[in-house]
Symmetry: C2
Subunit: 220 residues, 2 copies
DNA sequence: CTCATATTCAAGTAGATGATTGAATACTGA
DNA sequence: TCAGTATTCAATCATCTACTTGAATATGAG
């Protein structure tokens, strides 16, 4: 009791949770799984890796207890084992934003220049939802919308945005959201709408953060 | 924009925060620094590693932006660069407790059997502090008490406990706390007091968690 | 039963990590 | 200025990690 070896083992075990999230590809996997369950193949194309490699990353996450699996026919679906995993990933991102000085550059080179985008915080959006003077659109792929979305949002995947411009108001502000702060979909949507003269803004964060904050969601 | 390489770099950078905490020795360092600043030598003896090795771990933490340094004469003091780092470490521990199934065994083999210890949650303690029917003792080394402690607590480092039994009440409950849930000091104190017929309990968590929860603290 | 498909496993390799050792650097006090 | 102490640096080595490749396993459709 109180021995150095036992202490090392204990802290190694605690740190193992961080270790498994300490890889960019696994972090991406968790980021996607925060939107809902996915098969190995779907994940592999999301993260741009071979299926075999993706499977190995998933084994790491599984051994650490951060994901669960479910078999459906020949497919195996992975999901986060609890909302606290998504919360942890959010906390990691937050600390990274606060302490990694060149992060903004990296974000810009992936997402493009965001400085001209109108953004909205969660609390602003809740206020304006109460007031009823905004339309909220969920621009993620429809599966993700179906797995859970902000209460009152309409599903308009970015890919279908062009064909569905009719349904959008020209008087009310349109607020787009997607997977999270490092997701391109909402950026693309806001830019596209702006070019067509529709007033649009992006929610700063995405669905998982909204849910984690305990704000009203809708799951089917 | 939207390229795979840029996305990889971005997520690698986000994951780097987790990576640096994904080592047991560095996790221990953060755990200690959550109590206040420390010199390299102090840290090296805390984590049972050579000074050179400890220094290298500290360089990792420094490069990731998680710690700051301050020189005082020949010594260099390291501290957490913000409270959010301590918060992140707490979140990691929480997820580990929730998802690593053999963690309790590891904790028991380091801390001994805790099942007989009376414990108290933060909210219980705040209630009883309001009621005024408990005495709270901070059993960490006195430097840590001086760096910050629960408002109203008395400093009685475990090492001095024997000599200071006189100052303890025999009518009121004594609540001991220390660095955090994986710290032995409060366990040792509660056991020692119990053997002397003094009613004692340990606060489930420690000072950093109390502070992170926004509860009243006192810093000098 | 056989074939196609999804996933996992196993082996191999380049590169990263953590610990050790001994030397170099930086500051203090005499 | 010089000796003493705290910290960092550099080189080394065993081990681990991430990815690749190709084969093995498991399920469902026909």
């Amino acid at each position: 009791m109180g021995s150095r070896d036992a202490k090392n083992e204990l802290f190694d075990a605690l740190a193992s949770v961080a270790k498994v999230l300490g890889n960019g590809r696994r972090a991406e996997i968790v980021d996607v799984l925060a939107q809902g369950e996915r098969s190995v193949e779907e994940l592999s194309s999301e993260i741009g890796q071979t299926v075999a490699n993706t499977s190995q990353h998933l084994q790491h996450l599984l051994r650490a207890g951060l994901v669960d699996t479910r078999r459906d026919g020949t497919r195996i679906y992975y999901s986060l084992s609890s909302p606290s995993v998504s919360h942890l990933w959010g906390t990691i991102r937050q600390v990274a934003e606060e302490h990694i000085e060149h992060l903004e550059e990296l974000a810009t080179s992936y997402l493009g220049d965001r400085s001209t985008l109108t953004t909205m915080t969660r609390s602003e959006l809740t206020d304006r939802l109460d007031a009823g003077d905004v339309m909220v659109i969920d621009v993620r792929p429809e599966v993700e919308f179906r797995a859970g979305h902000i209460a009152g949002a309409t599903s308009i995947p970015v890919k279908e945005l062009e064909e569905r411009l009719d349904g959008l108001p020209d008087s009310r502000l349109v607020v787009a959201y997607c997977r999270g702060p490092y997701c391109v979909y909402a950026d693309d949507a806001v830019r596209a709408l702006g070019q067509r003269g529709i007033q649009a803004a992006r929610l700063e964060e995405g669905y998982p953060e909204w849910q984690d904050a305990g704000l009203p969601v809708q799951t089917n």
